[in-house]
């Protein structure tokens, strides 16, 4: 090191020092900026991207924050994130379902407006949009789960009977009513948020969440035996010994059925 400094002209020395100093400064500033960029990746769960938005990482490399999608949305659904708001990356478009949901326009004007492809132009059928997935997050407050016929989220769904159905089951509380559980089918749900917007509760019991929060995933090697059997048209393993079924009745542990033993005593107040 010191050997080279001998022969170095003052200008060259000065130049190298300046360059090193500049590079050092830029490395520091660059790291700070990179930190900010990483931070900006955290998209809050209630902020939904417009239809066709690339997945979040790709989206942040693609969206120039021009707001053309915002302007062309006829329902005023979208807005650009403000600086300082604890929300999506500054200036990027998003919507909050409970405020204004996406009305799933047939001609998808937001996607048509996007000049960069941050909203994928390949999305030509709004039913294929994946803005998120609705989840009935609160079965304890959902009116349908309490046994009432609210049905609002089901009725308003633009993809009714595919994205959301009412699954009837026995109401164990009353004992002789049905319970119609609003049930979302993720394959068809676009995440438009109309259900969340319309839920009559003060705080919606059904919410659209980003897929990363809404969905689990099945392991690659899992197989559903019944599907495999149907596909094969025969049992998967031949020659399984069929053990006798244990029917309820005398001699079994199922004592309350006809022919079983009555309990020796009953708790006072117990039904029947």
């Amino acid at each position: 090191m010191s050997v080279t400094t001998h022969s170095m002209s003052p200008q060259r020395r000065r130049f190298l020092i300046d360059t090193a100093r500049m590079a050092g400064g830029c490395a520091v500033a660059g790291s700070a900026l990179a930190y900010l960029a990483r931070d900006a990746r955290a998209l809050p769960a209630e902020a939904l991207r417009p239809p066709g938005a690339l997945d979040e990482e790709a989206f942040l490399s693609a969206c120039i924050r021009c707001g053309l999608c915002v302007r062309d949305c006829p329902y005023g659904t979208l807005s650009l994130a403000d600086l300082g708001e604890d929300g999506p990356a500054t200036g990027t478009p998003y919507f909050t379902a409970r405020d204004v949901p996406c009305e799933m326009c047939d001609d998808i004007p937001c996607v048509a407006a996007c000049p960069t492809g941050a909203l994928d132009p390949a999305l030509d059928d709004i039913d294929d949009a994946k803005m998120g997935t609705a989840v009935l997050v609160d079965q304890e407050n959902c009116l349908n789960f309490l046994g009432l016929r609210c049905d609002v989220c089901y009725r308003v769904c633009p993809v009714i009977d595919k994205a959301i159905t009412l699954e009837a089951s026995h109401n164990p509380r009353s004992g002789h009513h049905a319970l119609f559980a609003p049930t979302v089918h993720a394959d068809h749900c676009t995440g438009c948020g109309v259900c969340e917007k319309s839920c009559v509760l003060p705080e919606a019991a059904i919410k659209v969440l980003p897929a990363r929060l809404a969905r689990g995933s099945s392991a690659d090697h899992y197989r559903k035996g019944w599907e495999e059997k149907d596909a094969k048209g025969a049992p998967l393993v031949e020659g399984i010994i069929d053990l006798p079924d244990r029917l309820p009745g005398p001699g079994t542990d199922n004592l309350a059925t006809p022919g079983g033993f009555e309990p020796a005593f009953k708790l006072p107040g117990a039904s029947q």
């Binding site: 300046d18 500049m22 590079a23 400064g25 830029c26 500033a29 660059g30 900026l33 990179a34 900010l36 960029a37 990483r38 900006a40 990746r41 990482e57 790709a58 942040l60 490399s61 693609a62 969206c63 120039i64 924050r65 021009c66 707001g67 053309l68 915002v70 302007r71 062309d72 807005s79 650009l80 403000d82 600086l83 300082g84 708001e85 990356a89 500054t90 200036g91 407006a113 996007c114 000049p115 960069t116 492809g117 941050a118 132009p121």
Partner: protein
């Protein structure tokens, strides 16, 4: 020196050419800044959607796309292949500024320019020291850093900080805390570093400077023989290192200000009482020989 040295900057020009004559390009420039801002505000304010979007990307008359080329460049290095509309929009912008001078963007369009100009005006009024003066080349380093960070993080990195688009988006779409960033730039130029932001740090200025390296429209010190050394042009020029080579050029050297740092603001034209400067094209190397108005005669007068 003569008594004239004590005159305030630009006073001489006002006496020689009248107030309007000495502020012509300044007024035009402010008008242009207001005009471009108003184009974007017509929609949200008056429902006239001639221009939709913001400086990052826009659509005019449902036809003409414009895209900020630096933002798109960051998008490309971040790994996205932008749609055709955005590419065409950027190509139009690049072509326009490559022709009329890259930094014409800075002085005639950019909404931060009035902010830093105001800071400089106040800075002068208060007679503050020039403060920290990083090298002019710092902005090129920052530009390089911004592109590197975009590539490494896969984001459009400068848009997380860019006060230009923040302010513009703020005005057109809703402000949030963008004003804080603008205030920071103002204060930085006022108390930390004279002409610090646009002239030394802003990577957008560096980018547009590079865009206009070979631009056609240029200011030339055509009449440099008439210069009386009042130094007013140096006082008003935001990039005054660009003037000397042209103004003080030896006979035979081009009088054209060729540095890409020149913002084509035309303030030097305004402020010169003997009309040394004029807009022309880069190949126009004519110099007027006016021996009568030579340096020595003027000073003696």
């Amino acid at each position: 020196m003569s008594a004239r040295t004590h005159l305030a900057v630009g006073q001489e020009a006002i006496e020689a050419k009248g107030w309007y004559g000495a502020h012509r390009y300044l007024i035009l420039r402010r008008a242009s800044q207001v005009f471009f801002l108003l184009l974007f505000l017509l929609g949200p304010w008056f429902g006239i959607w001639w221009v939709t979007g913001n400086l990052a990307g826009s659509r005019s008359f449902d036809l003409l796309p414009l895209t900020d080329p630096l933002i798109l460049l960051q998008s490309v290095v971040a790994g996205h292949l932008p749609g055709l509309t955005a590419l065409i929009g950027a190509a139009i912008v690049v072509a326009a500024y490559a022709l009329i001078g890259g930094r014409v963007y800075c002085s005639w369009v950019c909404p931060i320019n009035p902010v830093t100009d105001a800071a400089h005006w106040l800075h002068d009024k208060l007679g503050l020291p020039k403060g920290w003066q990083p090298k002019r080349a710092t902005r090129y380093w920052i530009l390089g850093t911004v592109l590197a960070v975009s590539a490494l993080t896969g984001t459009i990195a400068w848009e997380l900080l860019n006060p230009i688009t923040m302010l513009h988006r703020g005005l057109v779409f809703g402000m949030g805390f963008a004003w804080a960033l603008v205030a920071a730039v103002f204060l930085f130029d006022l108390v930390v570093s004279r002409r610090g932001w646009c002239g030394h740090l802003c990577p957008v200025s560096a980018f547009y400077g590079l865009l206009g390296v070979k631009s056609l429209l240029r200011v030339s010190a055509v009449n440099r023989a008439a210069c009386d050394d009042c130094m007013d042009c140096f006082a008003v020029c935001p990039e005054n290192q660009v003037i000397s080579p042209a103004l003080r050029g030896k006979p035979g050297q081009s009088p054209v200000i060729l540095s890409p740092d020149c913002t084509n603001c035309g303030r030097c034209i305004d402020v010169c009482s003997v009309d040394v400067f004029a807009f022309t094209h880069r190949f126009d190397t004519r110099v007027t020989e006016t021996p009568a108005a030579g340096r020595t005669e003027q000073t003696a007068a």
